[in-house]
């Protein structure tokens, strides 16, 4: 268990680190809202928002939920099903929204 200990300590963030992540999350949220209101950026709104929110998502999962420093087993049992969840969303959107545009 000792090696497990040390790896843990090495990956362990202090409260300062958490606050920093919190600030980053707030800033990203602010940017998202700002982009929403800038008409000139309308064309890139969707991809930009997706990237930004994915970043927030990853930051919370990796650091607040500690997945980055923890065993990869946790990552696998969580992200495995999550990949399927993304597939469900993408699949249904394609079947209902995209394909009908192109004559199925």
């Amino acid at each position: 268990m000792a090696e497990h200990h040390e790896a843990h300590e090495a990956g362990h963030m202090t409260w300062r680190g958490y606050v920093l992540i919190g600030i980053i999350l707030t800033v990203i949220t602010g940017v998202e809202v700002a982009i929403f209101y800038i008409p000139a950026l309308a064309a890139v709104l969707v991809p930009t928002l997706l990237v930004l929110s994915a970043t927030k998502f990853i930051l919370v999962v990796l650091f607040y939920m500690h997945l980055k420093a923890d065993s990869p087993i946790f990552s696998r049992v969580f992200f495995g099903p999550m990949v399927l969840a993304v597939f469900v969303v993408v699949g249904l959107v394609i079947l209902f929204k995209v394909l009908p545009e192109y004559g199925g």
Partner: protein, 604 residues
């Protein structure tokens, strides 16, 4: 050989019926829970079978009036619902429960009380759904409950309410079980048992459990959408509001297709234990068997709309799902070949278990062939909604799943009870069942291709389907004495079967190192394994661990909170049916009280 008395929590002594009942009501032992699942599933097999017999009596002759159309709808709906949710899935879980912890060298599953909760929700939920028969309002929208037939407008009675509420509870129980088994298999393996050393049955349990935890939540949402439409007037499937009934089909089959793999993989696991044992050879291509099962599960997630080829998906979607469905045939076919290769050159013993395992491989292949025919979407446009489909899925489900399960029963009965089942009765059972099953379902291929639609309560004489249906019904009737033989065999063998030792079949995996039946704590000391076939490669060491000196053992104590909480869950469902806004809150409160007491219950 240390005796058990010094450490055993329960010494062996005769107990009254009341104490046995209390024991089972509060048990958190995976073996007892496995037995409960098994007996309950067997009961529902008979219930579902009775529904099938009534269906076949009605269809025996054209224009028959044995049951009305309305009753017929309830019969085929409940036949499907019962066989899938109250028999097929739970009987797999029965085997997972009893066998997996033994096969990985563990004392129990990861969350023993959660395990009990899953069982009690299954039992109470199954009773709840079937209670609908008492008021003549059994679910009647098909086991797949297509929208918007299931809407309040087109199904104004209580039938569909029973269906959505009952299945929601059962689905939750399944998900809890899935989480339990994935955790157990990852975290409670004995030292030395790397993943690629696990018995194949445990691998199948692992993969099936992943399918359960990913597919059932989709079904849960689909059921919620219909429940909200029916109870609270949402418009998810209200066409006038823009709702799309085809969305139900997508969501249902996104669950429903992985569901059929949930139903077949455990049987594949059983077959993969039985065939090597009775061929006296290790399983051919172990790694490939593992990877192919994982591939089947993964690709199976991408094939669902092959159930929807007639809904106007468009050519791109049709093509995609045709290809994904056909591709699954490859890893599946590989398994068939590997089982045959396992037998090749082996020293084969045709015990009843082996007969069922080999029979299952053969009959599943027949079902697989018709399955590939369905995969081609132009073919399917002719075949869908005909009896050709009914033939297909009964070959894979009865041929594959049910016969695989029967193999498992004969195989593991000696371990569970310490006695053999009667082999003569077993062989009669096998042949009666085999002939009956084929007589029932093979003609259905022809009925379907001749145009007989599914889900019809009668048919006109001019269609020339009378002979085929008559023969089919005879085959179905033949299955009745066969199943009765099974029940009789179980009954007398428990009492008077020939004594079996710890490893009567000379099998290779860890469960055969324990006593028959195993002590409550399974292994006296946790074994250390160094191979895939520990009892063939290192028997002395493993048996010494299992039945030799005992280490300090702590077992989780029994608890009545799981059964109480389960009653709360199903009570909540039942109280929704009263349509009083405050009634379900009572059920929810009861459930919460159960859960909180459970959380604070000492477990030492």
């Amino acid at each position: 050989m240390a005796t058990l008395e010094a450490h055993a929590p329960h010494a062996a002594q005769p107990r009254g019926t009341r104490s046995i009942i209390w024991d089972y009501m509060t048990t958190v032992d995976h073996k007892k829970i496995g037995i409960l699942y098994f007996l309950t599933s067997l009961f529902f097999l008979v219930v579902g079978g009775l529904e099938a017999i009534l269906i076949r009596i009605q269809l025996m002759r054209p224009g028959n009036e044995f049951v009305s159309a309305e009753v017929y709808n309830q019969l085929f709906t409940m036949h499907g619902t019962t066989m899938v949710f109250l028999m097929g899935m739970p009987i797999a879980v029965a085997f997972f429960n009893y066998i997996v912890p033994l096969q990985i060298g563990a004392r129990d599953v990861a969350f023993p009380r959660l395990n009990a909760l899953s069982y009690w929700i299954f039992l109470f939920g199954g009773i709840f759904i079937n209670a609908s028969f008492l008021i003549g309002a059994a679910p009647n929208g098909g086991w797949f409950g297509y929208a918007n037939l299931t809407s309040e407008q087109f199904s104004p009675g209580l039938n569909i309410d029973f269906w959505v509420l009952g299945l929601q509870a059962l689905g939750a129980a399944s998900i809890m079980g899935g989480v339990n088994f994935v955790t157990t298999i990852i975290n409670l393996r004995a030292p030395g048992m790397r993943l690629m050393r696990m018995p194949l049955f445990t691998w199948m349990a692992f993969i099936t459990s992943f399918l359960i935890i990913t597919a059932l939540p989709v079904f849960a949402v689909a059921l919620f959408l219909v429940t909200f439409d029916r109870f609270w007037g949402t418009v998810f499937f209200q066409v006038s509001a823009g709702g799309d009934p085809v969305l139900w089909q997508h969501l249902f089959w996104m669950f429903g297709h992985p569901e059929v793999y949930i139903l077949i993989l455990p049987a594949f696991g059983i077959i993969s234990e039985v065939i090597p044992t009775f061929s006296r050879k290790p399983l051919f291509g172990y790694a490939v068997m593992v990877y192919s099962a994982a591939l089947i599960a993964l690709i199976g997630w991408g094939a669902w709309a092959h159930h929807m080829f007639a809904t106007g998906l468009g050519p791109i979607a049709d093509a995609f799902f045709t290809v994904s469905t056909m591709i699954i045939a490859i890893p599946t076919g590989v398994k068939i070949f590997n089982w045959i290769a396992t037998m090749w050159g082996g020293k084969i013993r045709f015990t009843t278990a082996m007969l069922f395992a080999v029979g299952a491989v053969a009959l599943f292949t027949v079902g697989g062939v018709s399955g590939v025919m369905h995969a081609t979407s132009p073919h399917d446009l002719q075949q869908t909604d005909t009896y050709f489909v009914v033939a297909h899925f009964h070959y894979v489900l009865i041929g594959g799943t049910v016969m695989g399960v029967f193999a498992g029963i004969f195989y593991w009965f000696p371990k569970v009870t310490g006695r053999f089942m009667n082999e003569t009765l077993g062989k009669w059972f096998f042949w009666l069942y085999f002939v009956g099953m084929n007589l029932t379902f093979f003609p259905m291929h022809f009925a379907g291709l001749l145009g007989m639609p599914r889900r019809i309560f009668t048919y006109a004489p001019e269609l020339n389907l009378a002979t085929i249906n008559f023969v089919t019904s005879l085959g179905a009737f033949l299955q009745v004495p066969a199943v009765l033989l099974l029940v009789y065999n179980l009954w007398i063998s428990v009492r008077r079967g020939a004594p079996a030792g710890t490893n009567p079949w000379n099998a290779a995996t860890l469960e055969w190192a324990t006593a028959s039946p195993p002590a409550e704590h399974n292994f006296n000391t946790t074994p250390v394994v160094h191979s895939r076939e520990p009892l063939w490669v290192e028997p002395a060491q493993v048996e010494e661990a299992a039945r030799g000196p005992m280490e300090h053992i702590h077992l989780p104590p029994p608890s009545y909170w799981p059964i109480l909480t389960a009653a709360g869950v199903v009570a909540t469902m039942a109280l929704f049916m009263t349509n009083l806004w405050w009634a379900p809150l009572i059920g929810l409160a009861w459930t919460m009280i159960g859960a909180i007491n459970w959380a604070f219950e000492p477990t030492h």
